[in-house]
């Protein structure tokens, strides 16, 4: 009973901390991390009409964290008039990817079929990634809306990774690794990622070896990107709640350890 009561107190504490801090609006200046800055600069200096693949390699469960990152990067790409080929290597990323892509396209008045396209989902990701190195149209004979891919204006000059400047993998797991290990290693395709925070450290070695070009990580990464783009979004809005939650956890760990060591000393003294 006691155990449950502490649990409920801690749970309610977290809920209150996050909800209250979310209701307050404070604008933070979030200095960009080197990895976010690198991603931003790359997309910023890419010539107009360059083609970028956005791959939605995540499940619906990480949507809250992934969405602000994806939106910020998509906005940037559309703003700079880059052509976007969207796809998904996770079944659940499909509908989400199309939704985010068409939503941002509307903001910048970009046309489906000529400025962007969504190819949909392919299972067996390794085979799909490798196949696109040979022919994208062969892996995706039809787009998500059922059009024949080879009839779409945007696809006229696009055949394989040779025509793609960058793959942006929006991921909550190790799908980006497969982009790096198959498209990157085999076809020299440049890859960068938008990742959930939990995955950031897993990708550090790839970032350090430059197999992965850049990373925009977590809600914080989204906030940094929004800041660079000078367009407020979900990342910036969540920063105060995020900070409050971190401090709450910090306090819990410290208090928990104080109790633990006091008890241990008391037991040791007996």
């Amino acid at each position: 009973m006691d155990r449950l009561r502490t649990r409920w107190i801690i749970f309610s504490g977290l809920a209150i901390v996050v909800i209250v801090s979310y209701l307050i609006t404070i604008k933070f200046k979030t200095a960009p991390s080197p990895a976010t800055l690198k991603a931003y600069k790359y997309l910023d200096t890419l010539p107009e009409k360059s083609v970028v693949i956005f791959s939605f390699d995540h499940e619906a469960s990480s949507l809250p964290e992934i969405q602000p990152i994806a939106l910020a990067m998509l906005r940037h790409a559309f703003k700079n008039d880059l052509k976007i080929v969207g796809l998904s290597l996770f079944a659940e990323g499909t509908a989400i990817g199309y939704d985010l892509l068409s939503k941002t396209a509307r903001e910048y008045d970009r046309q489906y079929g000529s400025d962007y396209i969504f190819l949909g989902f392919k299972p067996q990701y390794i085979s799909a990634i490798l196949g696109m190195g040979e022919s994208i149209k062969r892996v995706f004979p039809e787009d998500y809306l059922g059009n024949m891919t080879d009839t779409m204006p945007i696809m006229l000059g696009i055949d394989s990774y040779d025509n793609i400047e960058m793959v942006v993998s929006i991921a909550d797991g190790d799908r980006t690794v497969q982009w790096v290990e198959y498209a990157g290693a085999r076809y020299n395709q440049k890859v960068m990622a938008g990742l959930t925070a939990a995955m950031i450290t897993s990708y550090d070695p790839y970032l350090s070896s430059e197999q992965l070009y850049a990373v925009v990580g977590g809600l914080r990464g989204a906030a940094e990107y929004e800041n660079l783009l000078d367009k407020r979004g979900g990342g910036s809005r969540g920063m105060l709640a995020q900070s409050a939650a971190h401090l709450y956890i910090l306090a819990l760990v410290i208090v928990g350890n104080i109790i633990y060591f006091r008890n241990r000393r008391r037991r040791g003294g007996e």
């Binding site: 155990r3 939990a198 450290t201 897993s202």
Partner: protein, 270 residues
């Protein structure tokens, strides 16, 4: 590069049989292949192969002994994430076999909840065999090895409940864990059980290390299972990997000294 080499032969269309760019990988693959074959041969030909002491493994006896002394039970669960084909699940089964032998010898109760009916069936076989091997087939209790629910949090809540009610003296969390790791390890910790955990997921490992007494980290889990089961196939893998690890370490040391002396050289870049 390979294409231009082919072009000079006058057959651009067919490409060359050997892609020169992949030569380092080919050489490294062949060397690794030879090392693995050597290791397989050496283990098969009965050469004695020892594995270093793994603290978590040494604690198995302690854990069983303590549970017996206290007249309490042991809880063993392979986590929610894996199916029977996963290497971690197989490794977990190998360790279960040895734990079950001890519990049968000491007549200690072994509780094994799982999320997968197939894993349940295999675990029943394993524990039954171990009880027979220990000379106490009557101490095998099929009802203690049971299927709970395939839902992640349903499984977590149920195991959580079992831990709070039965208060097992020792808990083994070995296998494929996902988010439920946190819930189980925390509950086990709060009732003061000895906890031995092991998995290959880095995120869950972080939680295990702070909440459990012993943690088998990634490869250690596999090595431990090879050690306990004497499986030639696993042992030869462990051995081959050890040999290659030495080569890699030497490579890094030599190349780093070289890079310091002759900064213009780049022979270590592939």
């Amino acid at each position: 590069m390979a294409v231009s080499a082919a072009a000079s032969d006058g057959n651009v269309e067919t490409g060359s049989w050997l892609n020169i760019d992949t030569l380092p990988t080919l050489i490294f693959s062949l060397i690794s292949l030879l090392i693995v074959l050597y290791a397989i041969w050496s283990v098969k030909s009965g050469r004695k192969f020892t594995i270093r002491e793994i603290p978590g493994l040494k604690a198995v006896d302690e854990a069983v002994g303590r549970a017996t002394e206290m007249g309490s039970s042991i809880l063993y669960t392979p986590g929610w994430g894996g199916d029977i084909q996963r290497p971690t699940t197989i490794a977990s089964m190998n360790i279960l076999s040895s734990v079950a032998t001890r519990t049968a010898e000491y007549d200690c109760r072994l509780i094994y909840p799982t999320h997968d009916p197939v894993i349940m069936a295999v675990a029943q076989e394993v524990v039954k065999e171990s009880s027979i091997k220990a000379g106490h087939p009557e101490r095998y209790r099929a009802d203690d090895i049971f299927y709970i629910s395939s839902s992640q949090f349903g499984y977590a809540a149920a195991v959580d409940g079992i831990i709070s009610r039965e208060k097992p003296a020792s808990i083994f969390l070995l296998g494929t864990f996902e988010a439920e790791s946190l819930i189980l390890a925390e509950t086990g910790n709060s009732i003061g059980s000895i906890q031995i955990a092991g998995t290959d997921s880095t995120i869950q490992l972080a939680f295990f290390i702070v909440a459990c007494d012993y943690t088998l980290i990634g490869e250690e889990l596999f090595a431990a299972s090879g050690y306990l089961s004497g499986n030639e196939s696993i042992l030869s893998s462990v051995k081959a990997q050890d040999i290659i690890k030495i080569l890699i370490s030497l490579f890094i040391i030599v190349a780093m000294i070289w890079a310091t002396i002759d900064p213009s050289s780049t022979w270590w870049v592939f």
